[in-house]
Structures are given as structure tokens and as C-alpha cells.
Amino acid sequence: MVEPIYIVASGLGIAFLLGLFRKTGESLPGLIMLLTLAFMTFVSGQWLISLMFEGGTPQYTYTAGFKPPFSINLLMGQSEAVITTMVNGVGLLGGLYLLDRLKAQGVNSMIVFLLLFVGLNVVVMTRDLFNLFVFLEVSSVAIVGLVLLERSTQSLSAGFKYLLATALISGILLIGIILIYQYAGSLYIDDLVRANLTAVKGGMVAVFLILIAVALELKPFPANGWGLDLYQGAHPGLGALVSGGFATAMVFVLYKLLPMAGGGWQYMMATLGAVTFIGSNLLGIKQGHAKRLLGYSSVGQIGLLMIVVGLSQHLGEALTAIACGLLVSHFLAKSGLFWLAGIIQKDGLRDWAVLRKKPFLLVLFGTFIFALVGFPPFPSFFAKWELIMQLSAAEGFAWAGIVLFGSLLEGIYLFRWLGYSIKLDHQELPSFRLPWQKILPVGISGVALYILGYFATPIASGAGSLSYLPLAFIVLVFLLDFLPARVKNVLSLAGMAFYGYMIMPGLYENDGLRFLFSIIFVIGGILTLLPGFAYTGKRRGFYPAALLMFAGLGQLLTAETLLQFFFAWELMTVGSYILIIRGKRSMRHGYTYMLFSVGGAFLMLAGFGIAYATSGMTSLEALGQVTQWAGWASALIAIGFMTKTATLGLHIWLPGAHAEAESDVSPMVSAILLKAGVFGLLLLFISMGAESAGSKPLFYVLGWLGAITALIANLTAVFQEDAKRLLAYSSIGQLGYILFAFAIMTHVGWLAGFTYTINHFMYKAILFLVVGGIVMRLKTHNMYEMGGLIKRMPYSFIAVLIGIIALSGLPPLSGFAGKWLFYNAGIEKGWYLQGGVVFFSGIIAFLYLYRLIHSVFLGQLKDRHRTVKEISPWFLVPAYVLILGIMAFSANPEWFLKPFGQITAPYFPDSQLTWQSDGTAVGQLGYWNGTQVMAIVMALFVAITLWLIMLNRNAKKVKQFNIVYAAESPETPETTHISYNLYAGYNKALGVLTRPGITGLWNWISEAVTELADQVRRIYSGNGQTYVLHVLTYVVIVYLITTGGL
């Protein structure tokens, strides 16, 4: 083992040595510098391995061999090893990244670079307060020096402001140190922790000054203008070092020094962190400059870590894991982002669209963004989970709320940024150079995030046997992304089939409910992947995303613990987000979808926190064991799920997302993805129980919500001109039915719910597949630009016809079964009014469904569509498979409803449906025989069809432009096409209900937040003197708050 002091000695010695190389050229010194950093990394890494995995003992180094407090001592313990390894690692990678800059500036700049890391290492290891001050100065001065790697006026003024502020801060620290020495007679941190200085009046001030100085070094909002200017003005390579290296070390210093103060002070620090986390992320929303935005985000993340450190007494043993998880994610992601900023050299967020030129950089960018917000499989996900769980367990719900709210704010600007880079239309996308020494650090950061994420899994309670097998498969597909789409499609189908083979038999044996959903998720997945064969080219990124979504969906079913469930949920979100944003005009919709998903997921997480806290369990059963705040937990979780089911108020992401998605993505997200929300709600409902206290009002509210959602959504669907948008609104409405049915919480209600769930899956998939296929052929979504397609696309016509009959709930098809059960259940429950609303919305559904046939397939064929071909068989085949399903359901409902009954029976044993031997179902209010109805209607249908064909013989054929019969102008269909604004009359009467009031509300909220951010950020006047005043004022105000007066 190499003594830790050699980290310092080698760094310093080599730095001094480099002074001799000033005139000899820059290549050799550059190499020496990197080798030294590598050596430092090696030493600290060696200690890391020894202390973490081999049970090594911490190593103290005393100057001149005297024991503290008489000498300075350095400690290399577990946490020190972790932090120094991180710091040195970023030094090594950052040095490589900046090498060309450093060479251009000469050997002196390399000396400065090296000394920055010597300083940080000592800051981390030292146990002496004054020594900490000295080496903190070394680091700060080195940073000020490295600012000069860029010689613009901006970076000069940024460096000067930084220098002013840090000079004041270190002065405050020095005053604190001398006061500490006065009261404690020692500078040894362990002595000071023991001395209980806050009990003495002056000692309290001393401790306060030390801690506030350390806090200020973390650049707390709002006294951090100088730090933000540095991030913005300096070379991004330095930004990475400050954010990844300096801030990391300072968080550790805070952790090291905070025990000097008592409990109340720790809350103070957590409060400062909370203000920083929320404030900084709020201001990020308005920020358009990439590096400054990264600055805001860095500061915010450090605020989060301040919260964690401040609340350490509540986090118990999990503290280290949580802090490390957050720290390492932030460290890797933020350095990576700064390095990326340096590579593409664009300041405007919108200009990051150039990343699209290099897909692997885009992937890395996405990785960093997801890691920052805390998505799986990154360490931050597990850390954030555990943080929320532990905070909840300590009943710190407000803190948990703050953490989640701040994270949501962060998500707002990070995902907008990601959206720009994936999709923003950009005039020109200039290419940029990619030197290997710049790519390498970014790549390593990205890959390290995945690897560490894998190893960080046990941080979180309830991780259990989290399966990474599907993820490994996705990584494989991702690596094969260069292959043609068809090959990848085969591979994906094979993967899905194998996955289904793995999980479905087990579910079939044990759990009907999950088996039912596995049919939707896995079989549905396979069917909706088939249309992929219709695409040519590579479809980069499609398959990993789709598989990610399906893996998430599948793992929802196999999850046994809360964490596994949440993990799967987030995977599904990531996958579906990428799928959705792939659409041509989907940037905004993908963004909205992501925000609602993140917000919903955080509410869910909060609910899970309550469940974990009150039940003490990590398994999914915890949801049923909530002893306290049950109403809160249920409501939070329910809202979380309802963001996926797009219940009214939380639906605004859906129409755009589904309508603009690619033709084969729409059925995936509409027919399948939404069911994840339904599944979640069912789990919740089951664990809540119909009769438990507090549940009833919730179900009542949910029932109404479902009914109103159905009404408004169906009504809105009626007025759509865009076929896919129409189907999207229809989905919202259908999900409203499903919510309503399940909220009834009776046996029959649930049967209705299941019937709707499976049927909506089938017919919505059919409709979206066929309409998607048509859109692919015609290149338009607008129904008034279609028409007469029955002649060109007869098979599509039949599929849509069957789809809408099923959807409308007319006998004989399966939709009728749903309706019948539905009214039975509603009446039985006594929900007449709600039932009436639902009934009314069912009638409205006819209006829009009619349009799908009338405007698309009937009428006159457009001139330009005269030669259009039938839609691709790859769309038709899955649609017809699903039609078979509908037919089977319709012909013999017993096959389906009986298993549904079995699923439902354990939860609602009363008032079950009874089945007679001829397949007649008997409920409380009547009976119904699907097979007979089917037979009769089929007979009628055949008869009528034959009669029509007979009549057709006498029909008179006319030319299309025979004006007597064809009252339309094919040139400007908008104005004269009969199907344009078909329901204008209804719109006058009922349109008021479809005014986007909710959208307006959300818009208003978003504008208000943005405006607030814009106002608040004006405190950063850019004047260095004002920044210094901010720092001093911050000290005074925090003192006033802490001590309650002067």
C-alpha cells in the first residue's frame, strides 16, 4: 500500500518539478502531469478497494509523527477514499480533456492544474481546521487561475468576481477558525466535535462562521452569483472540475464539519440546502445559456446534497449510500455535460440540436440527463428512492416533498433541453470536431454511470433480486443499432417472445390478474412490433426504446417490492418517452409527456414513502398495510397512476403524444402503455379495499373523475379533424370508462373494467394500426383530406368497421359486453348520475366513430389517392389477429368473463355473475347471451348485406366530377368538403365543454413559474460588488434565523 501522504507529496513535488520545464516545450510536462494524476488516482483507488472490500483499516498520517491536536493529521478512511478517488478521477479525465488548452497556455497552467487537485485531496483528508483553510485557498486560487484558460472579457470578469467572493468567504472562515481556537484550544476536528462548542455563547458564533463559510463555498442560492458567472464564463473543462471535483470535496467538508454543531444547526443546513435546491432549479427554468444552466443545475444538486448531509441523523446507516449515490451520479453526469458543452461549443440550449449529428453523443447526453433527474438504472435513482424512504420513515414528509419538488423543477429544464437536442428543427447543423481525448472522458463518465448503477442497486431497500437481464438484452440491441431495422425487428420479436415464455407461464399459474395484463403487454408488444417490418432503413434508437418500454411493462408484473415496481415504472417511462418523441412534430408532446410522467412518478414515490414508513415493509403488500395517513398515500399514488391513464386534468400530454407518434408507436402507447396505469390503479384499489375507512370518498371522487373524463374526452374527439388525434381523445374517454368501472368496486364493476381493459387494448390497437397504416400511405392525418378509401383499402375498411362497432358498444361485438356489465354495475351501486354521464358520453362516441368510416372510407376518392395501395400487410396482419380476438370475445364471452370473475372473486365475493349452461350470463338486473346475440345479429347482417348487394345492381354509376352527385371541390377540401368541421352545429351547443380549460390552467402555471424565475434571477445583476454584498448579507440573515436575533 502506498501511504496516502504520497498523493500530496507526489502532486506537490511534481508541480514544483514542472517549474523546471518552462522552456522545454509542453508535451513532456503534459505527459508528466497526467501520469502524476494517474498515480494520485491509483493511490486513492487502492485505498478505496482496500477499505471498502478488503476490510482495511483507516490510515492516519501525522505531520512529523506528533499526535493531534499538536500536529496536523490526514485521515484516509472509507469516505475519504471514495471522495479522493472521485476527485482524482475527474482530475485525470479533466486533465486529458483540457490537455490541448493547457499546452497552449504553457507549463505554468499545468502546474496550476496539478495543484488544484493536490489542494482538493488535502481538503478532503485533513482533520485540521487551519490546514483545511490553507488547502482550500490552494484550490480556490488554482480555480481562479484556470479561469484564464479562456481569455475572453467574460471569463476574466467571472474569475475576478469569483476571486472577490472567495476572498471574503475565506476571511470569514479564518475569523471562525481563530474564534474556535480561542474557545476550544484546538484545531483538531475530532476535538472540536467533542467540545460541544455551541453550548458556549462565543463558540456558537465560531461554529456558525465556519459552517456558513463552508456552506458559502458550496454556492448556495441566492448568494451564488459569482459561482454561476464562473460556470458560464469559464472554459467548460473548468466547469467540469469545479462541479465534479471542487463541489464534491466541499460537500464532504461540510459532512466532516457539521457534527461540530448540534441538531438544530443541521436542520439549518438542510434548510439552506432546500432553498438552494428549489431556488436554483427554479431559476434554471428560464435559463437559455447551456453552461449557466449547468451551473444552476450543479448548484441545485449540491443543495440536495446539503439537505442529505443536514438530515444525516435521520438517514441512519443509509446516509453514506444515499450521499454517495447522489454524489457520484451528479459528479459523473455533470462533468460529462460540461465536457459535452466544450465539445460542441454551443451556448444556446437550442443549438444543442447539433448533437443529433453524432448519435452516440446524443445517447450520452440523454444518459446524463436521466442520471441527473434520477432515473434507473443510475445510482441516483436508488439513492433518491432510499432518501425518500428514509425521510418518510423518519416522518420527514415535508423534506421528502421538497426533494421531489426540486427534482421536478430540475426535470422541467433538463427534459426541455433533451427534447431540443433530439428534435428541435434547426436551420443548419454545423459539424464539429471530435478529438479522441475529448470524447474519452465523456464516454467514460457515461459508461461509468451504468456500471455504478448496477453496483448501486443494493443501496435501495427492497431491491431484492432486481433483474438486469432484460436491460442487458436492450444494451445488446443498442450495440447492434447499426444493423438494418428488419434484422433488429426479428431480434426484438425473439426477445419479446422469450420474455413472454419466461414470465407468462408462471403468472398463469399463480396470478390471473397479472396474467391478464401480461397478455396485453407481451402479446400486444409482439403484435405492435410486427408493423416494424414495414419500415426500411435503420430506425436508429427505435428498438432499444421500444424494448425498454416493454421490459418496464413486463417487470411491473413481476415486481414483488415497491422498489422493483417503481424501477419498472421508470424504465417504462424512459422507453415510452423516447418512442413518443421520435414522432415528427413530437418535441413538445414528448416533453409534456415526460413532465407529467416525472411529476406522477414523484407523487407515487411520495405515496410509497408513506406506505413504507407506516408498514415498515418493502414488498408491494405494504400498500395494504398503511396504518396512518392512508388517505394521503392512496391519493398520491392514485394521482401518480392517473397521469398514465390520462384522467381529466392530467391528460393534456396524451393527444399530441399519441397523434404525432410514428404509425406503429401510436398503438403501442395507446393500446398498451396506458394499461400500465390501469394495472397500477388495480394494485392500489386491491390493497386499499372497498370498505376501509378513508377509501370510500376517494373511490367516489375517482368514479366521478372517470365519468367526466369520458364525457369531455369523447366530446373533444368529436371535433377533431385529425384521425389519430380523434383516436387519442377516444382513448382518454375509454380510460375514463375503465376508471369509472373499477372505482365502482363491486364484482360486476370490475368485470366491466376488465372487459373494457382487454377490449380497449384490442380495438384501439386495431384502429391505431390501420389508421397509422393509412397515414403512412397518404402522408396526412386530416380526415377531410381522405375519403373514398374503401375502394383502395377494403381490408382496412373492414378492420376499422369492426373496430368501431366494438368500440361503440353495439351488439353483437364485445364492446356491448362491457356496456352491459357497466350499466349493471352502476345501477347496482346506485351511481345513477355518474352512470348517466357515462351513458351520454357513449352516445357521443357514435358521432366521432361515424366520422372514421364516413370521412375516411366513404365519399369520393381524392384525385391524388387514385393509385394509393392497400396499407402494408405488416399493419393489417396484427390488426386481423386482434379482430379474431374480438370475435372470440363476442362469440363466446364466457371464455373471457369467467376468468375475469375468477380474478375478481377473491376481492369481491358478493353478487357474482352466474352462468347458465347455454352461456347466458345472469346478473342482478337481467341476463345476456353473447353467443345468441352474435348469431342473430350476424344473420341479420348477412341478410342486409345481401339485400344491399342486390339493390346495388340497379345503382347508376356516375363520374366523380358529376356535379350533381359530388358536391365538393377536390382542390380546396377544407372549405367545401362535407366532412370538414362536420359537427359545427354540435360545436355551437356543446363546444364550450371542450374549451381547453385544463390546458389553459397548466399553461398559466407554467407561465407563472417561468415569470417568477425570470423575476428572481434578476438578483444576479452581474456586479461583482453586489455579489460580495450578497455573501455578507447571506451570513447575516442566516445568523439571524439561526439564533433568532442579534
Binding site: 476574466l156 475576478f160 476571486l163 476572498a167 476571511g171 481563530i178 481556537y181 458567472d229 456586479n1023
Partner: protein, 123 residues
């Protein structure tokens, strides 16, 4: 007068000097003046530090004929704050020099020493 120790006088002077320095830093628009303010601020801190280490009526921590080895602990003032101040003074000049170098370059770039004029980075 008996109640007031030499260290009290020094520390009061030091604190007032700190405040004067801060006032200069926060009110002077000229960058050079601000730097002077910082140098006063630093000197004030140093005086406070030495004042804290002072023990009434004792001699410098240098052992020679005047200070017997055995008696040392009862005759000298605390050497540690002095050592810290030495370090702090040297650090201080480093920072001052750096600030001045910045001031020089800032002037050469913008032809002004007014701190308010360097606000192109904000918000």
C-alpha cells in the same frame, strides 16, 4: 484600564479594521480600491488572530537566556496563532497579487476600473 487587556485593544482595532475593509470593498467602485479594502480586511483579521493568542504580560515565544526552558509555559504567549498569522499573511499577499493582476488585465480589456462595468454575465 486594568480591566482592558492589551489583547482587547488589539482585537477591537482588528474588528474595526475588518469593518473598514468591508466598507471599502462594498462601497468603492474602483477595483483597486476594492483590493485595498481586502488588504485592510485581511490585516484586521491578522490583528485579531494575534490578539487572541496574546497572554497578558508575557513575552514572545522565543526561548533564550531571558526565558528559562522549564518556566517557558508560564512566560510566553501562544505561538500557534502567530504561526497561523504568518501563513495567513503570505497567503494574503498571494491573493492580493492575483487580484491586482486581474485588475490590470481587466483594465486592459475594458479600459475601466469600475466594477459595475463588468456585468456582461448575469441572470
Amino acid at each position: 484600564m486594568e480591566q482592558i487587556g492589551l489583547s482587547h485593544i488589539a482585537i477591537t482595532t482588528g474588528i474595526l479594521l475588518i469593518l473598514t475593509g468591508l466598507w471599502g470593498i462594498l462601497t468603492q467602485k474602483n477595483i483597486i480600491k476594492m483590493i485595498i479594502g481586502f488588504s485592510l480586511f485581511d490585516t484586521g483579521i491578522h490583528i485579531v488572530m494575534v490578539g487572541v493568542g496574546y497572554v497578558e504580560g508575557k513575552t514572545a515565544p522565543i526561548l533564550d537566556e531571558a526565558v528559562q526552558l522549564k518556566e517557558a509555559a508560564r512566560q510566553i504567549v501562544d505561538p500557534l496563532p502567530q504561526a497561523m498569522v504568518l501563513t495567513a499573511i503570505v497567503i494574503g499577499i498571494g491573493i492580493t497579487a492575483l487580484m491586482l493582476a486581474y485588475a490590470l488585465r481587466l483594465y486592459q480589456k475594458n479600459k475601466t476600473l469600475d466594477i459595475q462595468k463588468f456585468n456582461d454575465l448575469k441572470w
